[in-house]
């Protein structure tokens, strides 16, 4: 990647006997919405904290805007917008006072700050509660405010650690809309960590999948599907009375869920027609109600790569 905004090159970090990061390498380009996913304890939070100079790395090189954050964070920090999984608001300050305070911390003042506050409070749906103290806010409202806070300085790079964790659908939709608007109109780059792979897949074009402190895959979601070779899933719904053992015997490469009576078979599109599977089931007199083809979700790829599910890489 030419001139990346963020680059990690062989970064390692150890806490006592625990190797949190082990030669972590990835790059994030200008204007990208970059997803960073992995199981608990894989090093996501350590990575964000290294970017914010809250931890010191043991080895490797980190560059943000071409600077090493451990050496020149005074240059890096003012261009960042940060959301942590804990909202950490000041309980006695109102929504507006929060944004004014954070704006001033970044040197945003006067009319510009006023207009930015108004825009963000309206965008996150807190305009009518702008004078209310944070202690009166629900979890969703707190998350909305924390999200707005991270964008007050028109950051070049937003680092968002689980920004959609535990919030309702409506709040999530509003925040995603705002994120898209800011990325599109202000050219902001976003580094997003999340457990929710549906969110990541919907938002991010490029994704890094991390396991035990190493990036095991880093590409566009489309390319990741290609790399996993089996890009499609055939979902066959069987009728009542289908014997699970018989189904599994007929299609040993598939996985059958007796509760939903769904058989999932992953396959490579050009390697053969999926109706061969249906034919095999019908030859054994198993009742097939319906079948459909699906594209592998990021969750399927993630489970495959992190070993959290069935191996599909072959």
């Amino acid at each position: 990647m030419a001139d990346p905004l963020v680059s990690f090159e062989g970064v390692s970090k150890r806490f006592g006997s625990i190797q949190a990061l082990d030669g972590l390498t990835f790059e994030v380009g200008q204007g990208e919405l970059f997803g960073f996913v992995g199981p608990n304890g894989c090093g996501k939070t350590t990575t964000t904290r290294l970017m914010l100079d809250l931890y010191r790395r043991d080895a490797g090189e980190i560059r943000i805007f071409g600077c090493d954050p451990a050496v020149d964070f005074a240059r890096v920090g003012p261009q960042l917008g940060v959301t942590f999984d804990q909202h950490a608001l000041y309980e006695s300050l109102s929504a507006e006072e929060h944004l004014v305070f954070w704006g001033r911390m970044f040197g945003v003042n006067g009319r510009e700050l006023k207009e930015r506050c108004r825009f963000l409070l309206e965008a996150v749906g807190l305009a009518t509660r702008m004078k209310s103290p944070a202690r009166t806010f629900s979890k969703g409202m707190r998350q909305r405010l924390a999200f707005a806070r991270s964008l007050i300085n028109r950051p070049r790079l937003a680092i968002m650690d689980e920004p959609f964790d535990g919030i309702d659908v409506e709040t999530k939709r509003d925040l995603v809309d705002l994120l898209h608007t800011v990325v599109r109109e202000e050219g902001m780059t976003t580094f997003l960590t999340s457990h929710n792979l549906v969110d990541i897949e919907r938002l991010c074009r490029r994704v890094a999948i991390v396991k035990r402190g190493r990036v095991i895959a880093c590409d566009t979601t489309e390319n990741l599907r290609t790399k996993t070779r089996k890009r499609q899933v055939l979902v066959v719904t069987l009728g009542e009375g289908a014997d699970g053992d018989l189904v599994q015997a007929a299609v040993p490469e598939g996985s059958y869920d007796p509760e939903t009576r769904c058989l999932r078979v992953e396959y490579v599109p050009d390697s053969g027609p999926p109706d061969a599977v249906v034919r095999r089931l019908m030859e054994r007199n198993l009742p097939v109600s319906s079948f459909r083809e699906e594209t592998l979700s990021l969750e399927d790829i993630y489970l495959s790569l992190t070993g959290g599910g069935k191996e599909i890489c072959g």
Partner: protein, 235 residues
């Protein structure tokens, strides 16, 4: 950029200090009033027969108000602004703005001291009011007493506050020290004030008072600047 950070942080600390700290300030004022009553009563017992001696003793008692009020009140502010900020992890967002730990520490220390100084002024006013209206003693104001009450004694108190502020960030679990130091300082000042009517020991401590808070603050800021952000944030 550091001036931008100082301005923003100072404004936030004032807002939070007045909103979250006013109940605590009222408690401290009540405590100061209660101590005033005991101090003056002990003076009445010891020098009550000599009105002039009582006037001098009552006037000098004003000097001790700062030592009773400031460490307690600043301690409350510092627990909110240094310790709770770490516990709630809002300090992570602050550090991520690029503000240096020593600028943050110094601003919070100065604002906690300034807010507690304001409350001390109110407390001195109440102290004098009680002395005049309840004990019917008119205080005598000399330059020494005024300087002692408004400058020397607060500076000594600020030295204690700076030491506590340093403990709050330097040690991971500073609560024990934080609880004991202000109580010890207040009780010692109160005990000394009530047993030594008319004593102007603070005059002898002027040089220490003028040096100690600045030296402790400078050393504190120097050591804070060398702490890792990981340790400051309690990660």
């Amino acid at each position: 950029m550091w001036l931008t950070h100082v301005r923003a942080l100072a404004a936030k600390e004032v807002l939070e200090g007045f909103r979250a700290g006013w109940r605590f300030a009222l408690q401290i004022l009540a405590l100061a009033g209660f101590m005033n009553w005991f101090i003056i009563r002990s003076y009445v017992v010891s020098v009550g027969s000599d009105p002039l001696q009582l006037r001098i003793a009552a006037s000098v008692s004003v000097v001790y108000v700062a030592m009773i009020v400031i460490p307690f009140l600043a301690n409350g502010h510092l627990i909110r602004s240094l310790v709770e900020e770490r516990q709630k992890q809002s300090i992570l967002s602050l550090l991520a703005t690029g503000v240096t730990p020593q600028v943050m520490w110094l601003t919070k220390l100065v604002m906690a001291s300034a807010l507690s100084y304001l409350v001390m002024l109110v407390s001195i006013g109440l102290h004098l009011l009680v002395t005049v209206l309840y004990w019917h003693v008119t205080p005598v104001f000399t330059t020494q007493i005024v300087l002692g009450a408004l400058v020397v004694s607060p500076l000594l108190a600020f030295a204690v506050v700076a030491l506590m502020a340093f403990f709050f960030w330097y040690f991971r679990y500073p609560h024990m020290v934080a609880s004991i130091v202000p109580v010890f300082v207040a009780m010692a000042s109160w005990g000394y004030a009530s047993r030594s009517p008319g004593s102007d020991i603070l005059r002898n401590l002027t040089i220490i008072a003028c040096v100690a808070p600045f030296v402790i603050t400078a050393i504190g800021a120097f050591l804070i600047a060398r702490l890792s952000k990981q340790r400051i944030a309690g990660l």
